[in-house]
Point group: C2
DNA sequence: AGATTTACATACCGACCAGTCGGAATATAA
DNA sequence: TTATATTCCGACTGGTCGGTATGTAAATCT
């Protein structure tokens, strides 16, 4: 039997060789057309996705430690054991949520940066893109920011750190560029970036997708506040040039 | 379950560990002088305080769920059972940490507000006071902001919410006053206050007491950033360097 | 000297949970 | 039909943890 060591071809855990493995081979890893697969079909299509979704929901609500896989399984009409066909450990589920969320956030930031003309405009697009991604991936985002905060594998932890730094790097580049061409004041770039990300990150603690204010609206307000400041302003140019 | 009034062990309420409001330990409460107490003396003076300190440390590091009372006890050379002489449940320990931390934060904010002359100055004092309190009560603060986030008793939850709102209310009053007398721009008071608290709260995620930058220093930077903004102040943005 | 009160340790219980194992169910392929 | 691959269930294990019961050590009071 050429049963591979459970490496679910998703995202990118290249270095992280999962130690534990489900008892059987992973789900179909095809990349091309829809091919008929052998064996009993899953109860839900793409169980891996559903498990991640439900787990993120529970992690966000009750935290990692207080969430049991049995409960996750129950909401999918699964037994607990079935989950282990798709993930080797509970930790692996958590890790997958974190990594994929950071990847998506990074992607959102990169797209925003590519579309803006001036640093001022890019900053706004970055913040709004960040907030929109938060709103659209609420549970995963909350899990990433407030839940448990511990990845087991050092390799995965490095991946997560790299992704986070890349996202922050995009922001710092915007600020540095704005400072260089005079459209921003010259300030400590790292601390300014930290401030912007603090505003956005803390949204995970109070923002609710069904609340009165939209996430992009909040980001817009924050961007204006951080750009123009609280002090009154003499008649000055609002737009970046 | 078992809603019997769990006073610690025997009769007296020496630790005040009962339902309802947390009360101070009688040992530390001065007033009627040192009275000789009966029975075997504690291994450490003020065990209640030590337990709260150690528990906050562990909660901050590993989270509520991942922290065991046995481990807390071990660091104090206690047995697990001994803790139950001072607290009825693990939850009660958590609740006590949250409440006392919020009370202290509220006090710090009130002191800051009382000392500033102008809204601009009060805002700075408020932010610095908040940051200083964070630095001086780091473990409790982190526990309050990132750990577990669930209080059992509805009454205590209300207490916590009330304290949090009071703190935020102090800040909003500063902003509203500044907007009224023209020293601040007219902006949405609630959202502006939220932004300020977001900056400060997120410090619990990255600030380290032994780090390079002091907490008050950070608050000072944030205050300047939020006040003056990122855009250049003067229309003629010809920054000579 | 008791008697009493407080502060602990030890041992234990019950609940819960991550993870495992054998096998049953359901699909395709020959 | 038989063989094989895949999914899933249900029962089980090993361990952890919150909380309790019981006894004992050290202090004061009478």
């Amino acid at each position: 039997m050429a049963s591979k060591d459970h490496t679910p071809r998703r995202s990118a855990p290249p270095a992280g060789a999962a130690r534990g493995r489900p008892r059987k081979a992973p789900v179909s890893q095809e990349g091309e057309g829809e091919e008929k697969r052998l064996g009993r079909p899953p109860l839900v299509s793409d169980p891996r996705e559903e498990i991640l979704r439900q787990a993120a929901k529970m992690f966000a609500q009750k935290g990692y430690g207080a969430s049991s896989l049995a409960e996750v399984a129950a909401t999918l009409n699964y037994s607990k054991g079935a989950i282990y066909n798709y993930f080797a450990t509970k930790q692996e589920i958590y890790d997958a949520i974190i990594i994929r969320t950071l990847e998506g956030l990074n992607r959102a930031g990169a797209e925003a940066v590519a579309q803006g003309a001036s640093p001022r405009e890019r900053l706004r697009l970055f913040m709004i893109g960040h907030a929109r991604y938060l709103a659209e991936n609420y549970d995963s985002f909350v899990t990433m920011l407030v839940g448990y905060s511990g990845m087991a594998s050092a390799a995965l932890k490095d991946d997560a750190l790299r992704l986070r730094d890349a996202h922050e790097g995009l922001l710092r580049a915007i600020i540095a560029e704005g400072a260089a061409d005079g459209s921003f004041r010259a300030m400590d770039v790292a601390m300014t970036g930290r401030a912007v990300l603090s505003l956005l990150s803390w949204m995970a603690r109070w923002y609710r997708p069904d609340g009165a204010m939209g996430a992009e609206e909040v980001a817009d307000f924050y961007c204006d506040l951080i750009a123009s400041g609280l002090l009154p302003r003499e008649p000055a140019a609002r737009e970046g040039r």
